[in-house]
Symmetry: C2
Subunit: 392 residues, 2 copies
């Protein structure tokens, strides 16, 4: 059912795991499973709103933390909200800033009241509380807003994760109480790290508060991939069927397929756009690095099966040249390709769920798609963690 929650479960795959649904928002209906590209600073890096739309993406994510620091919440409020400011008329989800603030190692002090942190831009001191996180998100005006939570690092002890979880739960109540706008929905965030017992307690507590949607947070932060998948599956299986499940921070093609088959409806990740700017392009056989010399004279597009502007217009040789020459157009063309690849993948998964052929679709995709190997993946993630406050 939709109504207050804005979500309707349409059907499930025969194994009962993959779900097709509809998310009704003030800015249109979104078909799920859905992937949201990241526009941290009010811009999906290198693309215009029209280009984002042309890739097939319908909903995007923006970061309260980044927008709070720059240009400042009041600037966007005066512009009439984030949709108007960035000229995007589709649905937007804002995160609460929790994840970003807790990534500022050494730059923060946490108490029950909230978090005092220093700006990664100029070192100035700021405070986020659950109430402020909600107020800022109401000013930004996204369709879906997120509770303010305390994230734990991947290697945190049970005791630490448990303590953060308790605080996250108290903050979830305060977020609900602080909410004033009724045209936005507020999702709760399940925490609990890699501990199934804590995840279960988190689901039990948060569902008792009856959120219209639930995110699974604190995963894909450096733990082994099998752990991500197992915790995702276990947590999702505990969540109410009629509410959307949003797995935060997951976005590689193989992970999207794996997690759609673990009952997830909504995803976001900077990965497809970030790796695009480094020259890593998705193909049905896996990622390729367009900077490799093998592409220097290839007259065909990077992915001959792709319907994106980049592949329909330019050869791999031209894209290789643009990357070598560090031309700004390179980053855009690669971003367009990767987002189109992901949106096609999401659409095909939905069609397969509706057709009852999801399991064979999944198996075939994963048999062809060579994932980035685990060591490279963790290394890239680690380097990203270290650099991302500067640029997301």
């Amino acid at each position: 059912m939709t109504g207050r929650t804005g979500f309707r479960l349409v059907t499930k795959s025969p194994d009962g795991l993959a779900r097709a649904g509809e998310l009704v928002t003030p800015h249109g209906v979104v078909l799920t499973p859905v992937f949201m590209p990241v526009g941290s600073q009010g811009s999906v890096k290198a693309l215009t709103p029209e280009e984002v739309h042309d890739t097939g993406m319908n909903m995007l994510l923006a970061n309260t933390y980044h927008l709070y620091l720059r240009p400042g919440i009041s600037v966007i409020e005066k512009a009439g909200g984030l949709h108007k400011f960035m000229a995007w008329d589709g649905p937007i989800l804002t995160d609460s800033g929790g994840y970003q603030v807790f990534s500022l190692a050494g730059l923060r002090r946490v108490s029950d009241e909230g978090v005092v942190f220093r700006s990664h831009i100029d070192g100035s001191e700021h405070t986020f509380t659950p109430e402020l996180a909600v107020r800022y998100q109401e000013s930004l005006g996204a369709d879906i807003i997120m509770a303010f939570d305390e994230c734990s690092a991947a290697d945190s002890s049970y005791a630490r994760v448990e303590k953060a979880l308790q605080r996250t739960h108290r903050w979830a109540e305060r977020c609900l109480k602080a909410q004033q706008r009724r045209d936005q929905v507020l999702y709760g965030i399940v925490q609990g790290g890699v501990f199934p017992e804590l995840r279960k307690r988190s689901v039990e507590f948060l569902t008792s508060l009856d959120f219209p949607g639930y995110a699974i947070g604190g995963l894909s932060v450096g733990e082994p991939k099998q752990v991500t998948l197992d915790i995702t599956a276990e947590t999702a299986s505990l969540l109410p069927e009629d509410r959307p499940r949003y797995l935060m921070g997951v976005g590689s093609p193989e992970d999207l397929v794996e997690c759609v088959s673990r009952c997830i409806d909504i995803f976001d990740s900077a990965l497809p756009t970030r790796v695009a700017r480094n020259g890593a392009l998705f193909t049905p056989l896996g990622r390729v690095n367009i900077l490799n010399a093998q592409f220097s004279e290839v007259q065909q597009p990077v992915d001959a099966t792709c319907n994106c502007y980049t592949c329909q217009t330019f050869s791999a040789a031209y894209l290789h040249h643009l990357f070598k020459a560090r031309e700004l157009l390179a980053y855009r063309l690669a971003t367009i390709h990767n987002l189109t690849f992901i949106s096609n993948l999401m659409r095909r998964m939905r069609e397969a769920i509706l057709d009852g052929t999801f399991v064979s679709f999944r198996d075939e995709f994963l048999a062809n798609y060579r994932p980035t190997d685990e060591a490279t993946r963790l290394d890239q993630k680690q380097r990203w963690f270290q650099s991302r406050n500067a640029s997301n």
Copy 2:
């Protein structure tokens, strides 16, 4: 008349100076006066070919020097030429590499045969001769190609400029002799520095070779603006009426207006796109710097009179934010605006010439448009000279 030269003079302003014409090329007719944006490396920085077209630009310039070094002439030849490689179906003009090679201070040896120089990318040694410059340009396949010339620095002595001029003339003859493709036109380049006597000799010699078009080179390289204007006017007055005149390297709004009223038909410059990427945007009152704090909350577009995508879609406050946050979209939106401003300016100048109202149009434009002051202009130019081999 058109025919072999591809140029038809349509009319002149009542004072006999500003000219409206048509340039017929294998890739379409170009109305003059015309400004060409620069796509040194086979890309007008930050824009797709469609976006370049949407700004109203019809013809662009690419650099033989840059494309020779990267991706290499043979890569583009195998792709079927530069038009196909970069997916631009309008006219292209390639420069010969002369200007770039002579800008590599300390990295070259000149003889009558040609120039031995070192790549700014990897220091490798290369040779350009008039014959090779023509051969490379025939492989690239532009509609208009340029003779290989020796450029002198702005502060060169009469004797040095004279010596370079004599070599330029011998090389012009060799370029004509080397030309094989008959679907391209080869323009001669008038040199002679800031010395009217040498400019006159250069025009006399080159016109005796009967080129289908003439460029004025070696200006806008650091000399005072009044000298640029005076030498341009004197040189242009000596050139045959029925051939197009191309002033190389000029592209600020005020200079375009001044030089159209000095009989120039064709212009190119990296200035509009380069300053855009630094946040300098053209308006009818002069350049503004979008990074200035005064724009942080301006809900109107940068130029309320502008019909470009940027001004039609986004506020100055959003553009200010994108520049502050170093979002890639910033550089594109600013480039779209500046090129649209220039193409509107060229179109309005042509309409005024056809209407017989050019002089009043020019006077009104210059009365409103506050040019960048001379000291700032020369300083920016100097800094650009120093940095440009890295990025153009």
